[in-house]
C-alpha cells in the first residue's frame, strides 16, 4: 500500500514570500488500485507526483510503500519525453532492469507489439506521431512491471479517439501487471472512465477534499449513460468543489494549454 502524507511543500518565490503548494495532504493507494487525482490548475497535482516519484525531496512529510520510499516506479509525464537519439526499442530498453538482456528485450518487444508499435521498433521518435510517442512512453512505463505507476496528465493534447485508444491500452496493461496507479488529471470524465477511486484536491495549498469511489464495471464508455449520470450527480452534489475544473464545461480536452 502506498501511503502519502505531505505536511507542507513550499516553493521559494523570488522576491516574495514562499508559495505553499501542498498542505496537510493525506492519501493512500491500495495495492493494485487505480486512483485518479483531480483538481484545478495550479493546485499542486504535478508537485504531488514529483514528490511521490522521488523527483522532489524537499518537502515535509512521508511517502512510504511497503516500508520504504517507493523505488519500483514507472513514470509517464505530460510530454512523451523520449530520447530523440535512441530508437523506439532502445528508449524502452533504456529503463528496463531486473533480468538478463535477452529477457528484457523479449519483454520490451512484447509490450511494443501489444501497443501496435511492432513496425517502428527501429524508428527514431522524431519520425513518430504524437499518439505513437505516447504509446512508446506507455510501454516504457510498463516494461519493468512496476509496483507503482505515476502518470501526470499523460494524454493531454491528443485528439479524443487517440486518447481513448491509449486509455484502453493503459487499462489492459494495468489489469495484466497489477500495478498501483496514481493518475493525475484535470479532466473529471477521464478520471471517472479510468479510476477505482477519485481524489479531489482543493485549490492551492492543495489537500484532498473529497474521495469518491467509482462503482462502475469496466470497460466504461467515456460518453456512456452511466458515466454521464455519475458526472452530473457529482457536479450537483459538489458544485463548489469542481468549480475550478474545466471538465465542468463539457468535454473540451483538446488544445487547452497545459498548466
Amino acid at each position: 500500500m502506498l501511503d502519502i502524507r505531505v505536511d507542507a511543500k513550499r516553493y521559494p518565490e523570488r522576491g516574495g514570500r514562499p508559495h505553499l503548494a501542498l498542505s496537510a495532504l493525506q492519501m493512500t493507494v491500495q495495492r493494485g488500485e487505480f486512483v485518479c487525482v483531480v483538481g484545478p490548475s495550479g493546485c499542486g497535482k504535478s508537485t504531488l507526483l514529483n514528490i511521490v516519484g522521488g523527483l522532489d525531496r524537499a518537502f515535509e512529510g512521508r511517502v512510504t510503500m511497503g516500508g520504504g520510499f517507493p523505488e519500483d516506479v514507472g513514470f509517464m509525464f505530460q510530454e512523451p519525453r523520449l530520447m530523440p537519439w535512441s530508437s523506439v526499442l532502445d528508449n524502452v530498453l533504456l529503463v528496463a532492469r531486473g533480468g538478463e538482456r535477452a529477457r528484457l528485450k523479449a519483454r520490451a518487444l512484447e509490450l511494443l507489439r501489444a501497443m501496435a508499435l511492432g513496425e517502428v521498433l527501429d524508428a527514431y521518435p522524431g519520425r513518430l506521431s504524437g499518439g505513437m510517442m505516447r504509446r512508446v512512453a506507455l510501454a516504457r512505463a510498463f516494461v519493468n512491471e512496476p509496483a507503482l505507476l505515476l502518470m501526470d496528465e499523460p494524454f493531454v493534447s491528443l485528439d479524443s479517439p487517440t486518447a481513448d485508444r491509449l486509455r484502453a491500452m493503459l487499462l489492459a496493461q494495468w489489469q495484466r501487471c497489477g500495478a498501483s496507479v496514481l493518475f493525475v488529471t484535470h479532466d473529471l470524465r477521464e478520471a471517472l472512465t479510468l479510476a477505482d477511486r477519485v481524489c479531489f484536491l482543493s485549490p492551492a495549498p492543495g489537500r484532498v477534499v473529497l474521495e469518491f469511489a467509482v462503482d462502475l464495471p469496466r470497460p466504461r464508455a467515456r460518453a456512456g449513460a452511466q458515466l454521464e449520470r455519475l458526472h452530473a450527480a457529482l457536479l450537483a452534489d459538489h458544485p463548489e468543489l469542481l468549480a475550478g475544473l474545466p471538465a465542468a464545461q463539457g468535454d473540451v480536452t483538446e488544445g487547452r494549454p497545459v498548466a
Partner: protein
C-alpha cells in the same frame, strides 16, 4: 467547382496517431545538387593549380617553384623517409595534444555549464586563457617544464582547452532537464544517465569543438616544434627556411595539410554523421 475541391480526401485527415510522412521526392534533387557541387569543387581545385603554375612561370623559380617541382620534391623526401618520419612525429603530437585538450576542456566545460558556482569561479581564468597569445604559453611551458615532448604537448593543449570549454559549456547549459528527470524517475544508474541521456545532448557541441580544435592544434604544433624540438614538420620547416628552400617548405606544408584534411573528412565527419543520424 467539384466536390473534391471542397473537401480534402480522406487520407489527408490526420489524427495525432497518424505517423508523420517522411519527406518524399527530395532525394533526386539533392543528388543533382550534390553532383553539381562536386563538379564545382573540382573546378576550383584545378583553377588553383593553374593559377599557381601561372604565377610560378612569371616569378623566379627559387621564390615560387611550380606544382610539378613541389610534387617531385614530395616524392624524393618520401623516398628518403625523412618526410614520413617527421610527419609521424608531428601527427603523434597533434593526436596527443588534441586528446588532452578535448578531454580536459570537455570535463571543465561540463562542470561550468552544470554548476553556476564553478562557472563563477573559473570564468576569469577562462577569459585569461582565451586571450593569452599562443607564443607566450609555448615559451613558458618550455621554460618551466624543459625542452621536452611533454612540455610541447602541454603547451598546445593549453592553447586549445579554453575554446573547447566555451563550446562545451554552451552545450551543458542547453541540456534538457526534463530528460534528466526521466533518468531520475526511473532510477537509472549514473553511468547510464551520463552516457545515454546526458552525453548525447552534448554531441553536436563536442563535434564542433573537435573540428575547430583540430585546425587550431595542427597550426600551433608547428610553432611549438619550431621553437623547441629537434624533429617534426615544424622543426623541418625551420631548417628549410634557413636554407631558403621554398620547394621543401611547400612540399612539407602540402603533405601535412592533406593529411589533416583527410583526418577531418574521413574520421571526424563520418563520426558526426553517425552520431547525429537520428536528426535526418
Amino acid at each position: 467547382m467539384t466536390a473534391e475541391r471542397l473537401f480534402p480526401p480522406a487520407s489527408v485527415v490526420r489524427t495525432s496517431d497518424t505517423p508523420r510522412s517522411p519527406p518524399v521526392a527530395t532525394e533526386p534533387v539533392l543528388v543533382t545538387v550534390q553532383r553539381g557541387e562536386r563538379r564545382l569543387r573540382l573546378a576550383s581545385l584545378v583553377t588553383f593549380v593553374l593559377l599557381w603554375q601561372l604565377a610560378a612561370s612569371l616569378a623566379d623559380s627559387r621564390t615560387l617553384p611550380d606544382p610539378l617541382a613541389v610534387l617531385a620534391r614530395i616524392g624524393a623526401e618520401t623516398a628518403s623517409l625523412a618526410l614520413p618520419a617527421h610527419l609521424a612525429v608531428t601527427l603523434g603530437r597533434v593526436a596527443a595534444a588534441f586528446a588532452v585538450a578535448m578531454l580536459a576542456g570537455a570535463l571543465v566545460g561540463m562542470a561550468m555549464g552544470r554548476w553556476r558556482r564553478v562557472d563563477a569561479f573559473l570564468d576569469a581564468w577562462l577569459v585569461l586563457g582565451l586571450n593569452i597569445p599562443a607564443l607566450v604559453t609555448i615559451i613558458l611551458c618550455y621554460v618551466w617544464f624543459g625542452l621536452n615532448d611533454w612540455a610541447a604537448i602541454l603547451a598546445v593543449a593549453i592553447n586549445k582547452i579554453p575554446t573547447v570549454v566555451v563550446t562545451v559549456r554552451e552545450g551543458a547549459r542547453a541540456v534538457d532537464p526534463r530528460l534528466l528527470e526521466v533518468a531520475r524517475a526511473y532510477r537509472l544508474p549514473w553511468r547510464t544517465t551520463f552516457l545515454r541521456v546526458y552525453l548525447p545532448q552534448l554531441v553536436p557541441y563536442l563535434m564542433a569543438a573537435a573540428r575547430a580544435g583540430l585546425s587550431l592544434v595542427w597550426k600551433i604544433v608547428l610553432v611549438v616544434e619550431l621553437l623547441g624540438r629537434s624533429e617534426g614538420v615544424g622543426f623541418q620547416l625551420n631548417v628549410l627556411f634557413q636554407f631558403f628552400d621554398i620547394t621543401g617548405i611547400l612540399a612539407y606544408t602540402l603533405v601535412f595539410a592533406v593529411v589533416v584534411l583527410a583526418a577531418e573528412g574521413w574520421v571526424l565527419r563520418p563520426l558526426e554523421r553517425r552520431l547525429t543520424g537520428w536528426r535526418g
